[in-house]
């Protein structure tokens, strides 16, 4: 177990280094965009005089490197600065947004992960039957279409034609959980459709790859029923690749939902990031990007830890 802890710590250290590099890249990428926050705030109404005044107020007159180091100095102490456009602390701006995104991601994951894995097991069991083919074609179709298109299709049938669900997922405070789940069902369903195929196919492939192993043949020969062969004998050894894919898809649920948020007008962090980029609001862009990067780093770490825990050979190295 000590090895595992050491591994986690080492990976977290690398993760922090990655975040530092990401923050540098993001800062200079925002710098390179044409126009700055002062010009974006004033829009078409900008005059050189007012832009200069606003730049001064926002502290944009200092060289870029100095501004980056100032930001970094705050960030290592947990202060991510204030939004250049609204003047509020960054954490206030994106806090609720991030919670919304996590909620939607969790909602989609709670449906998608069990469905994908169970479907994967079933199609592995019924491989090369009609059911297998149909499930594959359907899930591959949904993963191959852009998610905004899937969203529009769902809106067309479930909101406009059948009028079963609201077309926009606008949230207001004081909604109870039931209403929240109802209002956000369509965006969650869109995400489920997008991520299911990947996880299902990986489950199927991992299980089928094991089915030709001698120990599976042994199990069959001793008369174990096919479903038990898969669930009891194949699945435990297939966990590692499945966990990896699940982790990747969970990260995608958090970081890749911008289009779904736009289509369903869901106030998540992706929308906040797009708004901040269009306004060149560097502190908000930076915070959103770091959240995304941290999500990937942590989920990848979790996947590796999961793979180790499910594999006795890795758990007890000689």
């Amino acid at each position: 177990m000590g090895d595992l802890l050491r591994l986690v710590l080492k990976r977290l250290g690398y993760g922090l280094l990655t975040l530092l590099v990401v923050s540098i890249l993001i800062f200079f990428a925002v710098e390179m965009l044409p126009g700055d926050v002062a010009e974006q705030i004033l829009g078409q109404g900008a005059t050189p005089e007012t832009v200069a005044r606003l730049r001064e107020q926002l502290g944009l007159n200092q060289p870029a490197v100095v501004r980056y180091l100032q930001w970094l100095g705050g960030a290592v102490q947990g202060d991510f600065g204030i939004s250049a456009t609204s003047g509020d602390p960054v954490m206030d701006v994106i806090g609720t947004r991030f919670v919304n995104t996590l909620f939607l991601a969790a909602y989609a994951a709670v449906i998608a992960v069990p469905v994908a894995i169970i479907l994967g097991i079933i199609v592995a069991l019924l491989r090369n039957t009609i059911f297998d083919r149909v499930a594959n074609v359907l899930t591959l179709t949904s993963i191959s279409s852009p998610e905004f298109f899937l969203g529009y299709i769902l809106i067309l049938f479930l909101a406009v034609k059948a009028n079963m669900f609201p077309a926009i997922a606008n949230l207001s405070s004081g909604m109870d959980l039931g209403e929240l789940l109802y209002r956000t069902f369509l965006p969650a369903l869109t995400l489920v459709l997008v991520v299911t195929a990947h996880m299902m196919r990986m489950t199927r492939a991992a299980i089928i790859a094991l089915l030709s192993s001698p120990y599976i043949e042994m199990a069959r020969l001793k008369g174990v029923p096919p479903w038990k062969v898969i669930v009891r004998h194949a699945l435990p050894n297939a966990w590692a690749p499945i966990i990896n894919v699940v982790a990747l898809n969970l990260a995608y649920l958090i970081t890749g939902v911008v289009l779904v948020e736009v289509v369903f007008v869901y106030p998540g962090i992706g929308q906040a990031l797009v708004d901040a980029v269009s306004k060149r609001d560097f502190p908000v862009v930076q915070a959103c990007s770091l959240i995304f990067a941290a999500t990937f780093i942590l989920l990848n770490l979790a996947a590796d830890v999961g793979a180790i825990l499910t594999n006795p050979r890795l758990r007890h190295p000689k």
Partner: protein, 535 residues
């Protein structure tokens, strides 16, 4: 009651039926015709086309909102904040549905003879949502927010000729100008000039979101949604809805779907491409309102080849406006005539001949200028307006017939107005509606103006601009604006293909006045206080 009075009452009632006059005017005229208030009230209720009803929660889906928005009126830039500003705050004056200027916070106003000093009297009933009455001090502080060296307000230029603003007692404010400006009361309708509560040190408290408008903000998140309830002490007429929800719907498809499914009651913008389809839905009304907003194509008058007036006029003759309005706007526009003065603005000269597509004459002018085979670059981007790049390509086809090669340069959407506009010699620009020709000409056509996008200098035009600005006689003023329009049309460096319409939509159960204000989108930004539910 005499026969003449009866006639007058009939005419007033007719006006009310058609929504041409407001309830306040109706009452005044009726009183003048010798009708008692009670009688006038019942006549109003019977006449007005669909008498507005109180009640309901109005859900307004609005385009263009951003997480980075703030309540600072000096940096209002998104449509969401402009609409919210007109819903929870008040302005001094407002533009009515018929295009006339009416009172908001200011009950009355008058100028001295040279129009260099204006005195406004405030409505004594006006109060902020916090309960405090609106006083002259609040007005002074609110306007000072846009003035002085430290301001970052985008409206600073509009108040450049204001020398001093003085409060006289609780309800009187005097604006002292460096020169005459007959348009000052119109200028006050600019969306930046929202009145906010003053702090003791003369600044304003804009952060709290307190205002004196028809609705007060209960809760909200910038770029997402605002919930408002009626402010019972509001000084104005209207505010029929009990509650108003402003929901940011940036995606055109989301807006349209929400309107079709009834998730919202009205939307601030309908995509012109699907306008015709929406109109077929019996549950939806589509409003198509000609506006003073325009697309302009400025050419630098000091840069070859546009320094030659014949080349400029050839460029203007080489555009087929009808086809552009038909194919790019799907009919939702009014033909431009190369002067930046729209029929939706006051003093519009209606007798200036329309410039039509005439490639032969354009070719002749190019020949006269000795510029045959000329090639020019036209910079544009899709962020300018929907279909801006398509429009430029269409224009380049039109111009080809006149022997002019227009090379369309697609610029990045981001930073178009900081890096391309005013920097490249021939661009495509979108202008929001301005209330009066003076504001428009002063901003973008006056010599030395920061936004003189065509770098056009015409002495007679500049002279007339100053004269007209201070002229209080309406007919003289109209005559001056007519001459200026001709100068801009025949000598200026700006092609104006069209004035765009505001196209927005509502569910069938939303009642609106017969005339929707052309001054700004969404019934002058005041749909929330002017519209109602019919049932």
């Amino acid at each position: 009651m005499s026969r003449k009075d009866q006639d007058l009452i009939n005419r007033i009632a007719e006006g009310a039926r058609k929504g041409r006059i407001s309830r306040r005017d109706f009452m005044n005229y009726s009183a003048a015709a010798g009708l008692a208030t009670a009688g006038a009230t019942s006549l109003w209720t019977k006449s007005a086309a669909a008498a507005p009803q109180r009640g309901g929660t109005f859900r307004w889906g609005i385009h263009d909102g951003n997480t980075g928005d703030t309540h600072d009126p000096g940096t209002y830039v998104t449509r969401t904040m402009i609409f919210l500003g007109h819903t929870h705050r008040s302005y001094m004056t407002m533009i009515n549905g018929d295009g006339s200027l009416g009172p908001d916070l200011a009950d009355a106003w008058e100028a001295n003879e040279t129009a260099s000093e204006w005195t406004f009297t405030l409505n004594p009933n006006a109060s902020f949502h916090s309960g405090r009455p609106v006083t002259a001090n609040d007005v002074v502080a609110s306007f000072n927010h846009h003035r002085g060296d430290d301001t970052t307000s985008a409206a600073k230029a509009l108040l450049a000729d204001v020398e001093d603003i003085v409060a006289d007692g609780e309800h009187t404010v005097t604006f002292k100008l460096t020169g005459g400006n007959a348009d000052l009361p119109w200028l006050m309708t600019d969306y930046h000039f929202a009145i906010c509560p003053a702090n003791d040190d003369g600044t304003i408290d804009w952060r709290s979101g307190d205002g004196s408008g028809p609705y007060k903000i209960d809760s909200g998140e910038f770029g997402v949604q605002f919930s408002l309830t009626r402010h019972d002490g509001w000084h104005g007429e209207g505010a029929w809805f009990d509650n108003v929800d402003i929901i940011v719907l940036n995606d055109p498809n989301a807006r349209q779907t929400a309107l079709v499914t009834g998730d919202v009651d009205a939307v601030s913008q309908v995509d012109v491409k699907t306008m015709a389809l929406l109109e077929r839905d019996p549950n939806i009304q589509v409003f198509n309102v000609p506006s003073a907003g325009a697309i302009t194509m400025p050419m630098f008058c000091d840069t070859a080849p546009f320094d030659n007036v014949d080349v400029r006029n050839a460029m203007k003759l080489a555009i087929n406006r009808d086809e552009i309005i038909e194919k790019i706007l799907f009919g939702a526009g009014t033909k431009g005539n190369d002067f930046h003065h729209s029929p939706a603005q006051p003093y519009w000269p209606d007798d200036i001949p329309q410039r039509e597509y005439d490639p032969d004459q354009a070719r002749a002018l190019i020949k006269k200028a000795g510029a045959e085979g000329i090639t020019v670059n036209l910079s544009t981007a899709d962020s300018v307006s929907a279909g801006a790049v398509d429009m430029a390509v269409l224009y380049s086809e039109h111009a080809k017939a006149a022997g002019i090669n227009v090379n369309v340069v697609r610029e990045p959407n981001d930073g178009y107005y900081s890096d391309v506009w005013l920097k490249k010699p021939f661009t495509l620009v979108s202008w929001g509606a301005r209330p009066t020709p003076d504001v428009m000409y002063t901003l973008a056509y006056k010599e030395g103006a920061a936004w003189n996008e065509s770098r056009w200098v015409n002495d007679r035009f500049n002279e007339l601009l100053l004269q007209a600005k201070a002229e209080l006689d309406d007919s003289l003023r109209a005559e001056m604006y007519r001459e200026m329009a001709l100068l801009a049309r025949n000598d200026g460096g700006t092609i104006i293909p069209f004035f765009n319409n505001f196209v927005y939509g509502a569910r069938g159960n939303v009642g609106t006045p017969d005339e929707l204000a052309a001054s700004w989108e969404s019934d002058g930004g005041r749909a929330a206080s002017r519209w109602w539910f019919t049932g």
